[in-house]
Structures are given as C-alpha cells and as structure tokens.
Amino acid sequence: MERVTNLPDNRLEKNFSEAKPLYTESEARIEANRCIYCYDAPCTTACPAGIDIPGFIRKIASGNIRGAAKTIFEVNLLGVSTAQVCPVEELCAGACVYNKDNVPPINIGRLQRFATEKGLLWEQDKKSTLFSPQNQTDRKVALIGAGPASLACAGHLTLAGVKSIIYEKDDLPGGLNVTGIAPYKLFTDAALEEIEWLKQFGFEIQTGLEVGRDISIDHLLENFDAVFLGAGLGRDKLPGIPGEDAAGVWGATELIKKIKNDRAFKLPANLESVNVVGGGNSAIDIARELALLGVPEVNIVYRRTISEMPGYRHELAAARQEGVRMFERAVPVEIIANDRLVLCTKHKLTGEPQQFESDWIVLAIGNERDAGQLSPGLEIDEKGCVVVDPDTMKTSVAKIYAGGDCINGGKEVVNAVADGRDAAWSMLREWGIGEAQQVRRNHG
C-alpha cells in the first residue's frame, strides 16, 4: 500500500519509534506464561470491548495463536490498532491483579498486538481467513463516518450478511484513528492496512461524501433498513478570546492531522517555541509530538492545576521526560500577534496576568459536538452528546443508531469499536439474523 504519511523532513518516520513494537516469539511466550489466568478477570471487566483477555493469552501460551486472534477479533474487530492505541495503563493492564502485589502488570496491549498481527500473517500464509461472511440477507445499512465506530459496526454487519455502505466526508477512511492518533502509537499506514483487512468482509466505503451536504439523512432513512451514526466530534473548539484567529494559532486536531497525513506540510525551520492550551490527552499528544519533532520549547498552559488535568498520568510523565513544561492555573484571555504570538492569561485564583510568548499556539480545549444536528429529531444531552439506549444503541429517531465519540463526547477508539459492534448486534437481534450476541459491558 502507498504510504500516505508524508512527514516534515521525514522526521516522523525516522525519529518516532513505535512505543509498542511487535513482540518476538520469546517475549510473547514469557509474557503469556506470566499471566495467571484469573477467573472473572478484572482486565476483562476493565476492557471497554470486554475481550476475554486471560483466554486469549492462554491461547498464545498453548500455541493456538490464531485462536487467540479470533478471541480478540470476535468482540473487537479493530484488535490490531487498539492493541497499540489503547491506554492500557488506564484500562486492562491498570486493572491487572499483579498491580496489587506490586508486580508489573501483564503487557496486555503487546500480547494483543502479537496475537492479532500473527493471526493476520497466518491468513496471508495459508491464504485462508479467520472469518467468513454469512450468506447475504436482504437487509442494508448506511453508516455515517468511517471512524472506528462505523468500521466495527459495518464489519459485524457484513459478517452477518447485511449489506453496509459507509459515507465518509474526508478523503481517507479511519476517522481519528487515521488523522488523530500520535504516530509513535500508530502510523497512518498501519491504520489504513487494518481498514483494507476489514473491507475484505465486503462492505463499501464512499469517501469524499458528506451526509447532510452531499446526501441527506432522510434519503438514507428511506433507502436503508437502518442508519448508524458514527460521525465523531466536530472541529477544534475555540476559547472565544480576541486574537484566536491569528496566523500561527492552530487547533490541535487540525495540526495533528497535518503532521500525520499532509504531504506538503512541514514545520517551519525557525519554529522555536509552541504554547499548547489545554490539559487533556490531545494537548499532551500534540505537545509530545512537537517536542519529539525537535521543537526546542514546548509548553502546556492549563487553566487549573496539573493534578486536575484530565490527561492520563503516564502520558503526562512521558511528556515531561520529553522536555514539555507545564504551567498551571493560567486562564487564556487574549492572543496578541506581534512578530511572535503572545498568549495573555490571568491566574485562576488571584487574577494576576501573565504572558507566554511563542511562535505558535495550539488550542487543545476540546472539539465541537455537532453530530446531533444531522437530524432534527435526535435527542441530545446537556453536553451535546447524542443520546442512545445503551442496550440497543438506538437514538430517539426510529432506525437511527449511534455510537463512538458522538455519543460519549470523546473517549477511546476501543469504546467506539464496542459501540459499533453493539449497534450491529442490536440490529441483528431485531431482525432475527444469526444467534443473539451480547458481551457484558462496562459503559462507565
């Protein structure tokens, strides 16, 4: 496949190394045998997709690698990318019982990567497939957005014989898995290869087609048995302060997307310093990416205290190691554009003004939640998220199901995958196709 990442001075390809490379056979064997195969395992409970983690690890240990891959894929069709992008420290590995005994937890993400990638290699070697789609039914589903939620949903539907078409406004499929994930976690080409694998099941992706502009949702409702809304979040939010539209002020996801996928994009040679506004994982990600790309001074400017930052602790620690500095209790009030940019803030408690000078400013204060506007009848909660019934993934509009960032306001890839899967299973249950499937889920 053609590499679509075209990184400034090839830095990303050259300088970012994968945080969780593929295990060797020895590593996998030793790590798999370290797992004690808990019953009703806390790691499985902590996994938003409810993967039978001790089960797949035991299969690695017994040498049944493709069985291990299948155990994962059956509930998480994006097992390859989630193995690398899941914050396992916060999820499965964070719940490993070993933590309670001060023993390092099982490296579940890397074992998952080993199992899933070896499973796909087995497919290539044997010219065989782990899954084969059931006979075609007469049902068909349209999916909005080709992010992880829709991909998982379409994957399960096609395996059950339901014709599925995904409409994606961007040129590339994959959603934030392709445009947003830090490259040291997952390269864009790896995410795209995973989509190629999923597409073998038989669903279609039409890119460059925006629902609501190029095609109406009512049209979809008329022509399909159901519509799955997996539109994710919208544009980067703006703080609403003077100067926020100055040149050199970026939105975090806008900039990350350029770093990852824009062939023509390069960091200016004289880019000396960047101030990142925000305290979540996107703020930490873009700060780390810029620092790793060699920007000498990268700061995170946050309105509350560091301990209140919603970003993960392990990410924060990594950012610090990479030289990112943190400034707390600084609430942005204005951006002044001189030769450089001046971020003016006031102290959260005392109101005392402070100024941060830099070449660029990146705003990482969240994204718009606009998916609910696609159809007038969609119930939206106070945070702007589309409301669904968690048992059926149905929205307030008949025949519209939803999942992923547009219903949870922005969680992880694995949450979106589990939502998409559950929506697919809910449709299949409703239509009496195949055996009813359900996985115990922790929606928290």
């Binding site: 056979e25 020895s26 299969k59 040498g63 049944n64 069985g67």
Partner: protein
Amino acid sequence: MANLAINMCGIKSPNPFWLASGPPANCGEQVMRAFDAGWGGAVWKTLGKPIVNVSSRLGAVDHKGNRMSGLNNIELITDRPLDTNFKEIYAVKKRYQEQAVVVSLMVESKAEWREIIRRAEDAGADGLELNFGCPHGMCERGMGSSVGQEPAILEEITAWAVDYANTPVLIKLTPNITDILDPGIAAAKGGAHGLSLINTIKSIIGVNLETMVPLPSVRDKGTNGGYCGPAVKPIALHMVAALARDPRIQIPLSGIGGIGNWRDAAEFIALGATSVQVCTAVMHYGYRIVEDMIDGLSNYLDDMNMASVSNLIGKAVPNFTEWGNLDLNYRITANIDEEKCIGCQLCYIACLDGAHQCIHTRQSHCSAYHGESDHGIYPRTEIQPPVLHKANGGIPDHVPFVDEDECIGCNLCQLVCPVPGCITMIEQDSKIAAKTWQEMEV
C-alpha cells in the same frame, strides 16, 4: 473445522475431552456446568460404599514460581450418599444426551459389583469405569490400586463387571506397577471394552520441617497420597503408548495425566488415546480451559489436513520403538545462531559440566592457545572460533561456539537455551548406512 466427535467402544461424545473422575466431576451441578462449558464427557467421581474423608487432602509442588506443577491428594472416593449421586446422574443424562457420562465405581464383593453396576446403568450411565487405581486409603482395604496391582484379581473382577454390565466397561489402571502391560493385558483378557490411565502415582509431596509432619497433614500425621498434574504427563504418555503398540491390546484407551491444553491432549491421542481425561488442570483453572482445547485441537487438525480427530489416533505409535531399533549412525550436532544468542552462556556451562565439553566461550579460547588442555574448558587447539558476522547487542564475546566434531548431539544445550530457535540441532551426513543395535548383533 475438523470433526472432533469420538466413539470410544460405544461411548460417544462430541469431543475427546472428558473430566476425569475426581473433584471436578463430583456432583451433577458441576458436570452440567462442565458440559455447558464444552466438555464432551465426564467420568463421575468414584462411587462405592459410604466412605469417609479427611481434611486437609491436597499438597502441591511449585516449580520456579509456577503453582501446582505437581499435585498430590489423599482424598478417597465420593463421600456423598449413593442415592444422591444416582439421582444427579439421572438428571444430567436427562438434560445432556450428547455428552458422555461414565460412572466410576469401586466396591469389593461380587454382589456389590452387580448391585452398583445395575444402579449406575439405571441412572443412565453411558459407560462404567472401574477404579483399580487409587493408591491410598482404599488400597489398604483391598480395593483401588491393590486390585490394579494384581493382574489375576483385576481380570476376575473385570470379567464379573463385563458380565453384569450392559454398557461399555473401562478399566482405570494404576501406574504403581512394574510394567503397565501386565494389568493392561489382564483387563483385556477379562473382556474390558477400554482402558483409562493413569490414576495417580504413589507419593509424599513434602514435609513440614518444623512439625516433622508429612504433607498434606491431617492434624499431626500425614500419609502417602497420589501424584498427578503437569509433572506426571511423561509417565502417563509412556504408559498409554506402551499399551497402544502392544498387539495383545485391541481396545481403545482413555489417556489421563497432566493434560492441561490441546497440545497435551493431541500428544496423548497421537500416542494412541481415543479420549483424554483431565482432573488437575480443571482443579487449577476451571472448566473454561476446554474452550482452547477444542479450538486449538480443531485448528491443529485443520493445519494437519486431518478431517477428524480419529485420523490422529495412534499416528505416532508406529514411530515408538525399542531402543535397539534406533539408527546408531544418525548424527546431529548443535548449532548456535549468533544473531539470536543473548549471551547467557547457559549452554556452555551445561555442556561443560553436564555433557561433553563441546561448547566453548571466546574467553576460554584465548587461553586455549596457551595450551593447557586438549579438551574440557579449553577447545582443542585446532579449533578456531568462528568469526562473528553480526554485532550482537554489544556482547559478541558472550556468544559461545560448538566444536562440531566433538558434539555428541545430546540436545542438552538446546533444552537449556532460553531463546526459541537459537540453538538448533543439525543433521550431519555420517555417510554410513543406517544401522541399529539389533542389526549389529546379528
């Protein structure tokens, strides 16, 4: 997907995986949960005359931090009323027709055997297993392994049972004998329809060095018990294979001993077992282990292009032979992959102290030219260490090398090497025709 169903002397089950008679098959509720998890059959906890039990009952050896590499028990047969057991067997069979329920029995007199066989069959047993294997407690009273150790008595009781029974009769053998063929042949002669083995191996698992009481201890005393679990698998494999290749034994075998995953099971089947039974691994991890056993075995059979598990039964038996039939002129030598080597030098010390002094380190080589010895810690003077082609993690001087002319091909270095595929045994063309010890003697 390969067909896993088996028919063992008329006992049919959807797969070859059965619970062995023991705590996991103690009551109906357990057996039903096991069937729900995927087990193809269960051999009910041995039934007999009302019996007693003790606390504690189990002891185990751990190996390098791995819990329960070997398990020892001093438990006796069922301590629940016979009526209750039979009622539950009936209930299980009513709900689960596809799965096999084999009832394990152990009584003394002819009349008792007749009575208990009738009751087990009335309850719906698909087959019977006579427990001639229990090596503790029951044998002190003339039952269990004390029958298994006396071929004549074993044959006689087998004949009674076969006579009374309308369902297939399996004889469960004890490994606590000199030659497994003796009880095996006796059972076959007595008319048994199949053999199950092994039961547990007589053992003492350890001693409490403070109280001086053997483990597991019952207040201030301990007794010998039966050993099972991963540690006993090689012993069980040999006994199954020995029966499988003996022409006097033409009845199917149920392999037991240390089975914990599909690989273990496949080995038993390749060496002649039709079904396999599991006790310790279920006691350790629960019924859920059967999921990988089914999935893994089926994937393996697919890979081997075997449409059914019956194609695997006994596949390795023709290659199990006497020592005297091995080719004395076949030669392999060790080869160390310098790229994979991590420099632990475990192969070096193993060969130096525990084998034939054919692996050398680069350090020992330096002194070799100062010439102390022709062999041993220093390589023979004519041996040059091979040039290392690739730098290896900064420790190239820790990559040992093999003196191939001296290597006798024992495998030890390969067995101790922690890196898969680093040490391989490579066939050397000995340029001499194959010759066995038998052939040398004629």
